[in-house]
Symmetry: C2
Subunit: 195 residues, 2 copies
């Protein structure tokens, strides 16, 4: 199975000194269960849903030739919610339109999963991240794409906040990424792909 | 510093159950020495120099905004040398023309390094890989791009051959990728970037 993980710095694993991030950890765990997975990490720092919309198809198509079992995993949204020049970088209605566009086209090509944006400690951005995370759930349900709300469980875990506070306020370290990987490992939709 | 590693499955780390590959290990080692590096792994399985020529600029430009210190590390060539329909996938003169095109344009944008293709156990491909590795050295010297000949040292290490033989004949496991990372760690051009 060949998987493309497409999104932002949380997909890239920024802040994790080991370089694994949650993507590397989740794929390593799948290999330990005997799965032969090739992992393409396409997370880019500062990418919004609009940036992802512009590049996801081209970059994933190069990596998922038709003769292999290709899968897509998306995660974006935090960078849409951060403030720049007095306003969120991407307004929620535009983010949701981008998500509908990306996920609808993605699902027509490959089995697709979506993870919501995690909690951050960046001014008032987290209120918008929480609201976006809630709004993505019914959108994904409508598209019949499994959605994992990362925001709710991570916001309830003290270690997550500690990790952000001892970093740059946005990115956790290795322990925070291991938390996400554990959540993904317990996600029924992921385990159905990689039992 | 933001680094794009662009190339084939050896850049991707295919076969390494940990998911780190040599790229992940070399970046983790740089972080342990105190460097703040963001690593973008743009290795794609089966990519030849012609495939890299078509995508390297677009994919790296998205990841290396002008306001950050961006660097490029290339490694390709094995897939050019494997046989398909009775002939090498890319003839050596075309590979060298691609390398000249890619590396010349890359160096005009960002500091650039090149690693040659490693030894493989795939029919008669390794003779061509060895010849290509030798031919890339003077080309890189002419372009004033530091070149690391991976083929010569790896061919002399018994563990490398063992790793390939116990895998698919092309890709090592974690120990083989750790060998490459150690070689890169000892490379003067890399250590000048990340002392």
């Amino acid at each position: 199975m060949r998987l493309c993980f497409i999104g932002d710095s949380f997909v890239n694993g920024t802040g994790d000194a080991t370089g694994l991030g949650w993507v590397g950890r989740a794929c390593a765990a799948a290999r330990r269960r005997g799965h032969d997975v090739t992992c393409y990490n396409l997370g880019i720092r500062r990418d919004t849903s609009s940036d992802v919309a512009r590049r996801w198809y081209e970059e994933s198509a190069r990596r998922l030739p038709a003769e292999f079992d290709g899968r897509l995993v998306f995660s974006f949204g935090v960078n849409d919610c951060t403030r720049e020049n007095g306003a969120p970088r991407v307004a929620q209605d535009v983010t949701l339109a981008n998500a509908r566009d990306i996920l609808g086209s993605a699902k027509a090509r490959h089995p697709t999963l979506m993870l919501g944006p995690p909690p951050v400690l960046l001014g008032d951005a987290d209120e918008r991240v929480a609201a976006l995370s809630r709004a993505l759930a019914p959108l994904c349900a409508e598209l019949a794409i499994p959605y994992f709300d990362l925001h709710t469980p991570l916001a309830a875990i003290g270690l997550w906040r500690l990790e952000l506070a001892s970093g740059d306020g946005a990115h956790p370290g290795a322990a925070g990424y291991a938390l996400i990987a554990d959540l993904v490992e317990g996600w029924a939709a992921w385990r159905q792909w990689l039992p």
